[in-house]
Amino acid sequence: MIAVIDYKAGNLTSVMKALNALNAMAIVTADPEEVRRASKVILPGVGHFAATRLLREQGLSDAVRDSIERGAPFLGICVGLQWLFEGSTEAPEDKGLGMFRGMCERFPVGAKVPHVGWNSINVRPGSRLMAHVNEGEFVYYTHSYRAPVVNDTVAVTEYGEVFSGAVERGNIMGVQFHPEKSGETGMRILSNFVEL
């Protein structure tokens, strides 16, 4: 059972719909115990980084830490990826989980913000999440803040500068784009996660 965490940040319908289309068993939950019990966890999210405060307040941060420690695959989407880093300048007082080093920052002046639309990704070979995704395939982004490129970055995208499109270390994974909105390419990525 995949637990899709509901922390009142945007809209979970799309993610659930995509998981259903892949015949994955998934539930929407805000219950830390359900998150601990789940075989996999997805943290979707659009909107403001400050929304992640609710995760800490409701004991969901600890539940996610426990789940990751136990080895359950975790996928953060959009703000869910950013939350895996140390934090974001969008809400400096709210700490991220700190699984990856660095802060998320707003795109530099010059580029139109938000970064909205289909952009290409360059994938590092060997990633389980990004398996069977070819160089230059397109995914759908909509965001104003981006995570830096780190050792565990497995896909990058260029928009004014290069940023982390996807990160992966062991069972901890995150994507800045929306796989549930990225057509066949996105469904392949979600399916990779479902089948881990």
Binding site: A9, G10, V46, G117, W118
Partner: protein, 259 residues
């Protein structure tokens, strides 16, 4: 590289896609879910469903239409028409939309932009603006005015002021329809689009006037549009997104080519 988006727009009345010139002489063009899926398959980057149902009873049908259309759609999906409150927006999101497009409702009560943005994020709010050049002004383009009711009613607002206010209030994108070009199939209003695109930071979707692939190339280049809306050009098999994008790619416009 960030690509230019080609957005397929479906005008829906009482659960059916309709097509007419400026909302008259409507012809039945098919089932929204079927057409949306076909556009997605053919390489449209996004689907917009615009509800032009006039009656209150039709609203329930809309949510069912949105649900049915969203079910098999895995690309961005926006819904416009009849969204007057944050609760209306919430119902449409629940049914599977990713963004809502608001027009008269935002002009009527601009706080609606802030409210939807706060609850669902700026990326979920498109402010749609119907504008017309002001021929009496010294610069008809930068002095363009905002209209509602299919271009029949002047709102007293200037296009650029309203676009900037929408951005300030947290709109994620602007959908700009040129009432001068709409329905003409003679090309987008590139000057008008460029003027708004330069005035705001957020992406601008151009609408009104698409007739050929060259019109799209022009509005992406000269109009500095981030995306462009195609409605009639895709109906009745006149042209599809795949064909359109092949031409754009040849012209050197960055597009996402379908597999």
């Amino acid at each position: 590289m960030l690509t230019k988006r080609v957005i397929a727009c479906l005008d829906v009345r009482d659960g059916r896609v309709v097509k007419g010139v400026q909302f008259v002489d409507l012809i039945d063009a098919g089932d929204p879910a079927t057409l949306a899926a076909r556009h997605a398959r053919e390489g449209a980057d996004e689907i917009v469903l615009l509800d032009i149902t006039a009656t209150h009873e039709g609203r329930g049908t809309l949510l069912e239409t949105v649900r049915r259309t969203a079910r098999e759609l895995f690309i961005p999906f926006s819904v416009g028409g009849g969204i007057w409150t944050a609760d209306d927006a919430a119902a449409v999101f629940d049914a599977g939309a990713d963004k809502v497009s608001i027009n008269s409702a935002a002009l009527d009560r601009p706080d609606l932009i802030d409210e939807i943005g706060r609850s669902f994020g700026a990326q979920a709010v498109i402010v749609a603006i119907d504008a017309r050049r002001d021929p009496s002004a010294s610069d008809p383009v930068s002095e363009a005015e905002v209209f509602i009711h299919g271009g029949r009613k002047f709102t007293g607002r200037k296009l650029l002021d309203w676009a900037r206010e929408a951005e300030r209030r947290g709109a994620g994108e602007i959908l700009l329809t040129s009432m001068d070009s709409d329905g003409t199939r003679a090309g987008f209003d590139c000057e008008l689009t460029a003027c708004v695109s330069d005035a705001v930071q957020i992406p601008v979707i151009a609408s009104g006037g698409a007739g050929t692939a060259a019109h799209f190339a022009e509005v992406f280049r000269r109009g500095r549009a981030h995306a462009a809306l195609a409605a009639s050009i895709f109906h009745f098999g006149v042209s599809d997104a795949r064909e359109l994008k092949r031409v754009l790619a040849k012209e050197g416009i960055p597009v996402r080519l379908p597999c």
